[in-house]
Structure formats: structure tokens, C-alpha cells
């Protein structure tokens, strides 16, 4: 095996599937151009030509319907949005059309469409370039929603998504693109709907979403030094959810913190909390705690951004709070800053 980063994992999954299956194609604004969506489509236009890797007008609504039409008539499109904020223009097609084409035809039509959406904090991006909106899509029956955290998960889940006969929305946190780890070279599938315990522990379960798993790991390292053992569960697929994995973990630890990189109110953390509370009734030693964005539009200035976005510190303090520990002084700890690129193992 060799190391591959998350962007490379997407690129490799896409390339391998395009090689294997001539029906697969990838398109979207900026997809074949110089910037190649954080490098995730680099080399693909040269290799597969303009008919299988192409740019589009800034017409997200039509280009989503386009993907649907191509999918139901035999192709397997991958549509890329460089920001989930722009995918909002695709919601009419995604919610009113893509999600129910199979159902309304009595199960006759399949919709093998992958929609990729980049999320995550940037450099003072402000209110229109900072959303995640997981729950706006997990709410909709007929859509699968994934948010892989590690490069190896990404590769296997992207391949599974491309091979899936149903629409899959894939959320990619931009800070993860630089994460590296050993990733198998051959194509493989990680089934959608199966979560993963990223780190076993016994005192508290942190259910992390996307980038927040990286923060959770950092938090767990810090807490380990104080003898607190954190279990990190990455659902990976948000819909359909591997509820059992999460519930069993929380039953074991008796405590749960949900760390999301989205707003808390009506976020996916609400769904997780509702289910955990229902299924772990009587087994919880403390109320489930949700962590996420402040319930405000994203500000631009760094000092308010730092308040807006949760991170490892937020998790550490939440765990301390839950366990009744003193708040530690974290001054000596090394927290992630996006000014230096992320290179962690997951």
C-alpha cells in the first residue's frame, strides 16, 4: 500500500470506476478546469475526454435535472458542486425529482446519480460559503447521504456510491482533502449504511461527523492524558444510518456527545440525539450533548469565526463537563489551523 490523500482517494475512485464502466462520467462547474475541484478531478479530462468529464454553465438547477435524465436513461453521472451553498440551487431537482423518481415509477427506474458537495471552513468565507446542510437532505426519503472522513473510507464509499443504483449525496469537508493514509490501490467497496468505530474507548462516545472526527481524535488524545477514554464513532453514511453501531457504543459508555460541523438546531445532530435517547433510554448517565455551529450565519472575521466553529477544545470541554472534571488548561496543546495543511492519518 501507499499513502494517498483524501482528494487523491476521490480522484482514484472516480478514475477506476470510469475505467471499469464507460457509463460513468463526471461534470460540474469547474470540474475539468485548472483548479479541478481541489485536485479531485485532476487528470481525468485528459484521460477520458470531454464527453466524460466536462464543465457546465452556472445553471445548477438545469444541470441537476440533466444528471437525473442521464442517470435514468443508462449513464452513471457524478455531479460536483464546489460548495454546498451552490447546491441549494439544485434542491428543487434533488427534493422534488431525484428523490422520488424510483418511488413514483413503482420502483421501475433506477437513479444512479452521485452528487458531490464540498463543505467546510475556509479563509473568512462568510455566510454564503460555509454551510453543511446535512439534515436538509437526510430529511428526504429516497436520497442516500454520505460524509466519509478518512481517505480509505472515501475511496471505498465513493466506489460504492458510483455503483449504487440510487442517488447518493457525498459531503466532503475541504480540510480533509489533505488528510493522508494508507489506501489500497485496487478498487474496493465500503458498503453504504455501515458506520465505523474510529477509536475504541469506554468513558464517553463521541459521534463525529466528517471533519469533526479529526477534532474528536485530537480531543481524545488530550483527554487520554487525563485518563479519560473516548470512543469515536463515525457514522460515515448519514442516511441510511447505522443506528445500531451508535446505540451499542452509547450503551457501553453511557455517555454521548455528538460533534457536528453544521448548525445544531434541526441539524443531523438532532436526529442522532433523538434516536440515541430513544434507544438508550434508561442507559444514559448524562444527557446527550450536541456540538455544532453557533446558531448564527457564519461571520467572516477570524475572531468570530473561532467562536462560530466548534473544534477539539469544544469537545474536550464538553467531555469534562459531562464527567464533572475541572476544565483543563489547553494552552500547551497544538490545535489544527487551516493555515497549515492537514496531513493526519484520518
Amino acid at each position: 500500500m501507499r499513502k494517498l490523500d483524501y482528494a487523491g482517494a476521490i480522484r482514484e475512485a472516480t478514475t477506476q470506476e470510469m475505467e471499469r464502466d464507460s457509463r460513468v462520467f463526471v461534470y460540474g462547474i469547474g470540474v475539468p478546469t485548472w483548479s479541478s475541484i481541489f485536485g479531485t478531478t485532476k487528470g481525468i479530462p485528459e484521460k477520458f475526454g470531454k464527453e466524460r468529464c466536462f464543465d457546465t454553465p452556472i445553471s445548477e438547477d438545469a444541470m441537476t435535472g440533466f444528471g437525473l435524465g442521464a442517470a435514468i436513461r443508462g449513464l452513471r453521472p457524478i455531479h460536483v458542486h464546489i460548495r454546498v451553498d451552490f447546491m441549494i440551487l439544485a434542491t428543487n431537482q434533488l427534493i422534488n425529482m431525484v428523490s422520488n423518481y424510483t418511488y413514483s415509477t413503482g420502483g421501475k427506474l433506477k437513479v444512479p446519480l452521485v452528487v458531490r458537495a464540498v463543505i467546510g471552513r475556509g479563509w473568512g468565507q462568510g455566510a454564503q460559503h460555509s454551510k453543511a446542510l446535512f439534515s436538509n437532505f437526510t430529511h428526504i426519503p429516497g436520497l442516500k447521504v454520505i460524509a466519509p472522513t478518512t481517505p480509505s473510507d472515501m475511496k471505498g464509499m465513493m466506489i460504492a456510491a458510483i455503483r449504487d443504483d440510487n442517488p447518493v449525496i457525498c459531503f466532503e469537508h475541504r480540510w480533509l482533502y489533505w488528510a493522508e493514509e494508507d489506501v489500497p490501490e485496487e478498487p474496493y467497496e465500503i458498503p453504504l449504511g455501515v458506520g465505523r468505530i474510529l477509536r475504541p474507548g469506554k468513558d464517553v462516545t463521541v459521534v463525529g461527523l466528517s471533519w469533526m472526527n479529526v477534532e474528536a481524535r485530537l480531543a481524545a488524545d488530550i483527554l487520554a492524558k487525563r485518563g479519560v477514554s473516548v470512543e469515536i464513532v463515525d457514522p460515515r453514511t448519514l442516511a441510511p444510518l447505522d443506528e445500531n453501531l451508535i446505540v451499542e457504543s452509547v450503551k457501553r459508555t453511557g455517555r454521548c456527545i455528538i460533534a457536528d460541523c453544521d448548525w445544531v438546531d434541526s441539524g443531523f445532530s438532532a436526529e442522532l440525539s433523538a434516536r440515541i435517547n430513544e434507544k438508550c433510554f434508561g442507559k444514559l448517565k448524562a444527557p446527550v450533548k450536541r456540538i455544532g455551529f453557533a446558531q448564527t450565519p457564519a461571520p467572516t472575521v477570524r475572531e468570530l469565526e473561532n467562536e462560530f466553529y466548534p473544534n477539539a477544545k469544544t469537545i474536550v470541554h464538553a467531555v469534562e463537563d459531562m464527567l464533572g472534571l475541572e476544565a483543563a488548561n489547553l494552552d500547551g496543546e497544538d490545535f489544527f489551523s487551516h493555515e497549515r495543511r492537514f496531513r493526519g492519518p484520518f
Binding site: P57, F66, I72, K110, K144
Partner: protein, 330 residues
């Protein structure tokens, strides 16, 4: 403008008559029986406009992928002639096009080239563009056709879709069933362009206007437009003036709404009803009245039989609710 440049062969005239008659009589059946409350789905009737879909779908001789709006009946029947699955869907039976899950607004017989009709204005339009792309890549030889109302041209996605089809050099046939109204709002109260075709032209489609009200004109036009679209690798936009005889949704008339005048509509449209005109043409082709009556009778019987089969078909059992949310391999 009318496109019926030379008389069509007798067989075509008959085919068009039958297809028109099938759509008309199927809807007449609905009008008559809707009050029984067994077809429990909102009905957006095609009556009066059938000639648009019949003309276009007949010209394509089956090799079409049709996308339609909630005003779906004529498009569905013109393309499939499948009254069995049509009525089964309206009656909400497992034998319907969507095993009862779709209803009138979501008719779907993809195996017969009627993909799926859609209830949100203009949503079906970009889907047709993507289907055309797939048809080209997979060399199926099929033509993507999308039907929509004049109201759909209010929507930005309509313009995005024409541009995309032209940009990708796809022979999509965009057919506007221009009945002049979105519910009771006339086009002039919604769109500033004098002629929709003129507005569409710069977006890269060949445009055609038809105000003949005649199925043979539309048929001829569609033949020409489809051939040119494939030849030149360009989309075509067909704006066909037509008239909805009934209310926007439902089986009644709407003369009392005050937005259009019954006498005018009758004079300008109903008096030259496409079905009536087409029936008269048969005589010119030396088809006797009794031969016509026999055709009509055959179609009526087919409808009766379909309705009977539909009403006797099973209703979906509750466990079907959760089936088919995701695609299940056969």
C-alpha cells in the same frame, strides 16, 4: 402557421385519428366517472390539447423518450396507447404505471418511452436534456421529447435547459403546449416577450410556431423538426398554440371564472376541434362512416376493457408503502 404542407398518407391520417380519439375518449370516460370517487388523484385534463402530443409522438413512431407535465394524459396515451396501465394508475392499482403511487401527475411507462410526468412546473425539462445526452452516448437512436405549458417558460430552468441542450449539441425536442394560460393567468401577464419563439432563438434552438390547431400540421412539423435536430445536432423548440377546454385541474369547465370568454373559445377553438377535423379528413380519404364508427367502437371497447381490468386489479397492500423508495435489483 401550419406545417401540413402536403396531404399525409391515408394510413397516417387514420393513425392520428385513432390516437386522438383514444386520448379524447379516455378523458371523456374520466369526466363521466370521476364523481364515483374511485380515481382519487387530481386530474389535469388534456382535452382540446391532445393534438399536440398526438402529432409529436406519432411522428416519432415510438422511438422517443417522452417527459411531460402533470397535464399528462394525452402525452402518455399518445406515446404508449396503453389504456390498461393508464386507468390502472388512475384507479390506484398495482397494475398501474406506478403501482398506484404516482397517480395522474406521475404517469410512467419508461419501457414504452413515457418516462415520468411531473407536477412541479418545468422540472421535467432539464431531465429531457440529460436523457438526450444518455441517448447520444449510448447510441440508442431515441429522441428526447419534452412537453410543457407556456407557464414553464416563466421559469429560469427552461432557459437554462435550452441553452444546455444547444451547448451540448443535443437534439432535444422542446414542445410548448401553448394554451395561453397558467391556471387563469394569461401569458401576457407573465411574460414580456411578444413571441416565445423569438426569445428562444438566440439560445440556440431552431424554433417553430404552429397555430393551426391541427394534428396533421403538428405531425408534419415534428417530423421536420426531429430530422433537422438530429441532422444539425441542435435542439428544436416547437410552440404549438392550443386550447384547454376544461378547467385547470378537475373535470369541469371554468367559464364562470371570468378569465376567458366561452363564446370566443368556442368560436376560435372548439368549432375547429382537432378531433372533429381529423374525423372529417377520413371521409376525404374514402373511409366510410361505418368504417370510422367501427374504429371508434373498437377503441371504446378497448377503453371499457381497460377500465374493467383496472377496477378489478388489486389495490396495493399496506406493505407496499415502503417498497421502492430505493431501487431493488430484480
Amino acid at each position: 402557421m401550419s406545417f401540413a404542407r402536403e396531404p399525409l398518407p391515408k394510413a397516417t391520417t387514420i393513425k392520428l385519428f385513432k390516437s386522438l380519439f383514444l386520448a379524447r375518449r379516455s378523458e371523456e370516460y374520466i369526466v363521466k366517472h370521476y364523481a364515483e370517487n374511485l380515481m382519487r388523484t387530481p386530474m389535469h385534463m388534456s382535452m382540446g390539447q391532445e393534438f399536440v402530443c398526438v402529432g409529436v409522438c406519432s411522428a416519432l413512431e415510438g422511438k422517443a423518450d417522452v417527459f411531460a407535465s402533470y397535464r399528462s394524459h394525452a402525452a402518455f396515451l399518445a406515446q404508449t396507447h396503453d389504456t390498461d396501465r393508464f386507468f390502472s394508475e388512475l384507479y390506484g392499482r398495482t397494475s398501474g404505471t406506478g403501482e398506484g403511487k404516482g397517480g395522474s401527475m406521475h404517469l410512467a411507462a419508461p419501457d414504452q418511452g413515457h418516462i415520468l410526468s411531473s407536477g412541479v412546473v418545468a422540472t421535467q425539462i432539464p431531465v429531457a436534456v440529460g436523457a438526450a445526452f444518455a441517448n447520444r452516448q449510448l447510441k440508442t437512436g431515441r429522441t428526447s421529447v419534452v412537453f410543457f405549458g407556456d407557464g414553464a417558460a416563466d421559469a429560469g430552468v427552461f432557459w437554462e435547459s435550452i441553452n444546455a441542450a444547444a451547448l451540448f449539441k443535443l437534439p432535444v425536442i422542446f414542445v410548448c403546449e401553448d394554451n395561453g394560460y397558467a391556471v387563469d393567468t394569461p401569458r401576457e401577464a407573465r411574460q414580456v416577450s411578444k413571441s416565445l419563439s423569438d426569445a428562444v432563438k438566440p439560445f440556440g434552438a431552431d424554433t417553430y410556431e404552429d397555430d393551426s390547431g391541427d394534428v396533421e400540421s403538428v405531425y408534419s412539423l415534428a417530423k421536420e423538426a426531429v430530422a433537422k435536430a438530429h441532422r444539425d445536432r441542435r435542439p428544436a423548440f416547437l410552440n404549438v398554440k392550443c386550447c384547454r377546454y376544461l378547467e385547470h385541474v378537475g373535470i369541469g369547465t371554468d367559464w364562470n371564472w371570468g378569465y376567458r370568454d366561452q363564446a370566443t373559445v368556442e368560436r376560435e377553438w372548439i368549432d375547429r376541434d382537432a378531433l372533429k377535423v381529423q374525423r372529417a379528413r377520413l371521409a376525404k380519404h374514402q373511409v366510410t362512416e361505418s368504417a370510422i364508427a367501427a374504429m371508434e367502437d373498437e377503441i371504446d371497447k378497448a377503453i371499457q376493457a381497460s377500465v374493467k381490468r383496472a377496477s378489478q386489479a388489486p389495490i396495493p397492500t399496506p406493505d407496499r408503502l415502503h417498497a421502492g423508495v430505493f431501487y431493488e435489483k430484480a
